[in-house]
């Protein structure tokens, strides 16, 4: 009973760490082409949910389907194909410390084994340009880079194969306001060029307001609100009230001037 409309489908998902229950019966559908933002307090299981969508953790109960199929039980080739259609930006970048910036971005392209080095070189330089990293940094090792640069290079690596589905875990955490604004613009332009579905966990209200098509609020083991930003802000759950209608929330929402 696969729903054709969903690029990611989460059905009856339960997560437990020992006796600690993180999620209880979560149902979620990510539609193609949308930006879905997961919000929730610390420990509400945003990252855990995202890791389950990526197949890094198995849910205690329930199922996650990506492109209509579960992320396990396939033959190697099929699984690789599904993996290649997803890009992930980890919270701390997760650049391979043994490889230079250039090789980090080139790695997924080389793994395809269909592209020649010339094409890979042009593509890597293009991705670096896209995230605004100067070519002189290409030969540096990740240890020599600042936090903001690591993040941007990690985004370039996540986008290396031009995935249809992009997971962003706290993409703007640790970036200065100017950089996170640039990051938001970057995502917006990428969306005009490609049909890109994005699942993002964030605390940053500015990013949320600028990018989200829909927002899912995780609290008390459930998704307490799901819908457009306007709909979510309208719900009466105390976490939502705190998160969006606190001082910070008012400021961020006020900037757009359309929601409240």
């Amino acid at each position: 009973m696969t729903n054709e409309e969903c690029i990611i489908e989460v059905e009856g998902l339960h997560t437990r760490f020992g006796s600690h229950v993180v999620h209880e019966d979560i149902n979620l559908c990510v539609r193609p082409g949308e930006v879905l933002v997961l919000v929730g307090g610390s420990g509400s299981g945003k990252t855990a949910l995202m890791r389950q969508m990526l197949g890094l953790e198995m849910p205690a109960q329930g199922e996650v389907r990506i492109f209509g199929e579960p992320l396990y039980g396939h033959d190697r080739k099929k699984l690789q194909y599904m993996r290649n259609r997803c890009g992930v930006l980890f919270q701390k970048g997760a650049l391979f410390s043994a490889l230079s910036v250039y090789d980090n971005i080139a790695l997924p392209m080389r793994e395809l084994r269909t592209l020649d080095e010339g094409l890979i070189r042009d593509l890597v330089m293009l991705k670096l340009k896209m995230v605004d990293i100067e070519p002189k940094h290409a030969s540096k090792m990740p240890a020599e880079l600042s936090g903001g640069m690591v993040k941007r290079i990690a985004l370039a690596r996540a986008m290396a194969l031009d995935p249809e589905l992009l997971f962003l875990d706290e993409p703007t955490a640790g970036l200065d306001p100017e950089l996170s604004e640039g990051f938001v613009k970057l995502i917006q332009t990428m969306r005009t060029e490609l049909t890109l579905t994005i699942v993002m966990a964030t605390h940053d209200l500015d990013t949320l307001v600028a990018l989200s098509d829909r927002v899912a609020v995780l609290a008390e083991q459930h998704i307490v609100a799901l819908g457009s930003l306007r709909e979510v802000v309208g719900t009466s759950h105390p976490f939502v009230a705190n998160f969006f209608r606190g001082e910070r929330g008012k400021k961020a929402l006020g900037n757009t001037g359309d929601v409240l």
Binding site: A98, T114, L119, D122, E193
Partner: protein
Amino acid sequence: MPENLGGNSSIVLRRVTNDDGTFRLVLAGSYTLAALGQRVQTLSTDLVAYATDPELRWDLTGIEQLDDAGAVLLWRAWGSRRPTHLVLRPEHERLFDRMKEAPSAPAPTPRGLLWPITILGKAVFLLWEHSTGLLILIGQVLLDAKYLISHPARIPWREISANLYRTGAQALGITALVGFLIGVVLSFLSSRQLQTFGADIFIINILGISIIRELGPMLAAILVAGRSGSSMTAQLGVMRVTEELDALTVMGIPHSLRLVLPKIMALGIAMPLVVLWTSAVALVGGMVVAEIQLGLSYQFFLNKLPDVVPVANLWLALGKGAVCGMVIALISCHFGLRIKSNTESLGEGTTNSVVTAITVVIIIDAIFAIVFSNVGLK
């Protein structure tokens, strides 16, 4: 006269003749990395072949999905410039604009002619750095020890006891296993040789001297260097990576006092005990085989042992253990504190630490052998 080159329906590359007799190349479908798949090479060759005709009209309006890979493929076929006649969708315009701005990859810096000298020089400087670093650490630890003597209340007992447990008590199993097996093998091989000379009784001399004076301390030291040395280096290294060392510094807790000194003291105490334990278990192993192979009774073996092995050997072994233990801890801490905050450096530091510790342990053994050459031997 359309000629369809696309076997895959999602990628279309077709040449059509216009009404005025000129040719038009129609590209349609998805020019994305996922859709291109295995066809990249053939498509690239085809595109390059088409691009040789400067009058050809490129019609890209049929392309629904175009990503960077598709754009780069076209751009390379065109020889890094736009063809004279090109129509494309406005939203794809940006992709090619970006291509124009994209910088070329920096050329790799060639290796200078003097590279052997540079490498040698760097090695010498590295050795110098290690020597001075180690000397500074020893000095610091001695100063800390002096401070602790005048302020006994500040002695980090908890850390010392934790380290004693980790490096001593938890090492008993593996040292016993290795010691026992070495004792068995040594006894077995020696007894076969001795039997041919009818000198069975000398098995006690051979086992006693070799295990108590040499093998016990060395086995224990090498095992501890590999086991505790690596864990100490990795622990300090991980603390560097997670900024825990910096957190200690800003709390005013010196690394040398709280992290290095307890490790050195603990291993200095634990090692002689581990040596004693390893030697004892190895002797038991040897004794068992001597009984089976040569029929020497346990009673006889134990009675004869003090007569043939002067007790000085035992003191020598314990001394060697204490020195090796402290040196292992010192080297491990030195390498641990040198680790930079990245995973690459962590692996490298741990390897170097263990290799250096084992090498130094063997050098210490050699020095002891020379210095005490007329002690404990009849």
